[in-house]
Symmetry: C2
Subunit: 207 residues, 2 copies
């Protein structure tokens, strides 16, 4: 079946987001990463900054922080934690966007949420620690913590969040149609490999 | 660095072995699967049938079966279980073969054993249960147990053995440069995808 949705899950610093953006550009498809935040904000009334922070890391926050965040949120939550409510809304938005038209979606358990759509193609991008450490320092600069600590923390949050909401282990081959080591393969070579594997080709340029 | 060794780990019934064989043929490289057994037999004096059975499933056997199998095995074992001794010998053979010349190696934790060789490329092939069930019945026929049971048992043995000898989880993206769902992608398309990803091309045919 012709693929209409590509989901890209990724280790922090692996270049997965750049690869996803490039795929969307080449295919002329919609691209949803932070763009998803706007859609969820419109649906929930939550503050975009809150959604962005919690969208991928919800389950790692304390119960107290859920309770505090819940103040002033819509009545439809009916006792759900803000994070669980956000998960449900984000899930609905992802299902709707996939229905609406061809798109590339980054992270947010979209591989799990769309696992039954036969027109979706699920990709995982990872890379060795040293490659990712060099890359995040180059792209995002230094910080108080070592790049290795920053990578481990962010990956751990994604792993815990994924397990909490999907019951599956993050980064297990069987969850994806294709997984690639962008460090060994080269970030710039990944879009072509993904397009070929998915049986997709970029539309011809005019002119 | 130009790749000289490809390791193919695979779920039972995914077509990983056919894919590996095709890769070796196209590249004109040596192919080691059951062929490894002969090498290990020559080195250890073990019976080939014993090596074949234990080579991938060693750690799932009982202590008693180790003790019985140990009867009549070489004195160099010095108190090691037959399975642990076999693991060490098999490891040596894999390291020697990789040193000797370009080759494709199937299973036997070769991805782990050769993880520090920069000229090696590690692949994992998996597929959905229904795809694999249909495939093993077609290739190996029916048996008393359902194809799903046979798949689960064999995958479990491989998983336990891999964990026991490598300390790593089997089928985790980060262990491989590339992982593919042969059910979704098509077994026959996988060799091309692997060659492209590894930056290898088949030698031109004469004539």
């Amino acid at each position: 079946m012709e693929k209409k949705v590509i989901t890209v899950s990724r280790e922090f610093g692996s270049g997965g987001r750049s690869i996803a953006k490039e795929l969307a550009q080449r295919l002329g498809w919609s691209y949803y990463d932070k763009e998803l935040v706007k859609e969820v904000a419109a649906k929930t009334g939550f503050d975009p900054a809150f959604i962005e922070e919690r969208g991928e890391f919800a389950a790692t926050k304390s119960i107290l922080s859920y309770a505090l965040a819940g103040q002033g949120t819509p009545g439809v939550m009916r006792g759900m934690s803000a994070s669980d409510f956000l998960w449900c809304m984000q899930r609905d938005v992802i299902l709707e966007l996939a229905e609406k038209g061809s798109c590339v979606i980054v992270g947010r358990c979209a591989d799990y949420i769309l696992r039954e759509r036969e027109d979706s193609f699920h990709v995982f991008v990872h890379a060795p620690m040293a490659f990712r450490a060099e890359r995040i320092v180059r792209l995002y600069g230094e910080s108080e913590r070592s790049p290795e600590q920053r990578l481990q923390e962010k990956d751990k949050k994604r792993r815990v969040n994924y397990k909490h909401y999907t019951g599956r282990d993050w980064g297990v081959c069987q969850n994806y149609h294709l997984s690639l080591d962008s460090g060994a393969l080269g970030v710039e070579r990944c879009p072509d490999l993904i397009l070929t594997a998915a049986g997709l080709s970029a539309p011809k340029q005019e002119g």
